[in-house]
């Protein structure tokens, strides 16, 4: 068997290579699948955002595209009533804990949540789930950027950048369940931690949680 295989996504025939993850094959071929936590090159994806569901022929349940390796002859549908329902619920759950004051957000019009809402016809509003009332202290200790946890979607992109790209290890997930946050050792402000302020984490944040102070809206 050759390295190259053929798969079908939404009736489109695609040539790709064995070992690739379905999500990235689709995205590379301009087929949109919602995603937040997926990181190209990560061997064991977290699959924690629960947004990249697709239907694969022969599977009786929708599966997450980020964890699925392509197989010869795979037939994939990115939309189905079941997929849409799962994505809608996942998205609404993310919003239930998200600061929805988009107009005040530095990532407004440059936000992955807004993209997902637009592409999938979802509302950036809360109606089904009660908002989770939590209070976060803004960490604006670094010189050029700040971290507003009320906008964090816990995708883990910043942690990957901090660990793998920057090789620092200043931030990580702590606590559990609805208390889960991205923070430093002992919850120190970033400037007091081992953070080198390389800003790689700011560049990968898909929402407005980590942002440059220069982009801040008054």
């Amino acid at each position: 068997m050759s390295e190259h295989i053929a798969i079908t996504i939404d009736d489109q025939k695609i040539k790709t290579r064995r070992g690739e993850k379905l999500l990235w094959v689709a995205l590379d071929n301009d087929i949109y699948i919602p995603h937040l936590c997926a990181i190209k090159g990560e061997k064991r994806p977290n699959a924690s955002c629960r947004l990249c569901f697709v239907e694969i022929e022969g599977h009786n349940q929708p599966v997450t595209a980020c964890t699925r390796e392509v197989e010869e002859g795979m037939v994939v549908a990115t939309r189905s009533p079941r997929v849409d329902r799962l994505v809608k619920t996942g998205f609404e759950l993310l919003l239930s804990d998200h600061n929805l004051k988009c107009r005040e957000c530095p990532a407004n019009k440059n936000c992955s949540l807004q993209v997902i809402a637009r592409k999938r016809g979802l509302k950036l509003k809360r109606d089904r789930f009660k908002p989770l009332e939590r209070e976060f202290e803004l960490d604006d200790s670094p010189a050029e950027f700040a971290f507003d946890r009320s906008r964090c979607v816990l995708c883990g992109q910043c942690i990957w950048a901090d660990r793998v790209e920057a090789g620092v290890g200043a931030i990580g997930f702590t606590n559990r369940g609805i208390d889960r946050v991205v923070t430093t050792f002992n919850d120190l402000p970033l400037a007091d931690s081992i953070c080198t302020e390389c800003k790689l984490c700011v560049d990968v944040c898909p929402v407005g949680a980590l942002y440059y102070k220069k982009d801040q809206k008054a």
Binding site: R163, V168, G169, G172, F173, T174, N175, T183, F185, N186
Partner: protein, 180 residues
């Protein structure tokens, strides 16, 4: 963050060194290492987590993440008087959260914390096994039933009286005497 007591730093460093010496420094051993350190020290001080991270060559925030993930780990030292409020289903329904809040207000600490003088520590537990007495609190292994906010005031009064009694008889109560 509580201040370390005199001599505590040395104790923590020695303890971590001992535990790290007894275990192979692999990621799989992280939970057992934390358990052993907590068994010896009664809690996981930040200094210990930092030293364990150094020993295992993982980011300190990972140790912190793990210690805050599992309920079995406590980051604050047990107080002289340990108060545990039951949050099992029956106690929760009977207002256990109000009981916990009352203790938090009276002790001026949050759940999982220890007062600065290390006199009180406050925790939640999941079912003590006497649901008919809900809401239940356990004060130093004594089970108290029907702990309404008024009862919390009574319990706190008794604990405060105990503190005053000790202060009268002891020359140096406070922090040094509590240690050990």
């Amino acid at each position: 963050m509580l201040q370390l007591l005199k001599g505590e730093k040395e104790e923590i460093l020695a303890c971590v060194k001992e535990v790290l010496g007894e275990n192979s420094k692999t990621h799989e051993n992280l939970v057992p290492i934390l358990q052993q350190v907590q068994k010896k020290l009664g809690y996981l001080p930040a200094l210990a987590m930092d030293k364990i991270a150094e020993g295992l060559q993982v980011p300190a925030v990972d140790i912190y993440g793990l210690a805050t993930f599992y309920n079995q780990f406590r980051l604050n030292p047990p107080g002289k008087h340990e108060v545990k409020v039951c949050m099992g289903t029956a106690c929760y329904m009977a207002g256990g959260d109000i009981t916990l809040e009352s203790f938090e207000r009276r002790m001026e600490i949050k759940e999982g914390e220890t007062s600065v003088d290390r006199y009180y520590s406050l925790d939640r537990v999941a079912c003590v096994g006497c649901c008919t007495l809900a809401p239940v609190a356990v004060i130093d292994d004594e089970v108290e039933g029907k702990v309404t906010p008024t009862r919390v005031d009574g319990i706190m009064l008794a604990l405060e009286e105990d503190r005053e009694d000790n202060t009268g008889g002891n020359s140096g109560p406070g922090e040094g005497a509590d240690h050990e």
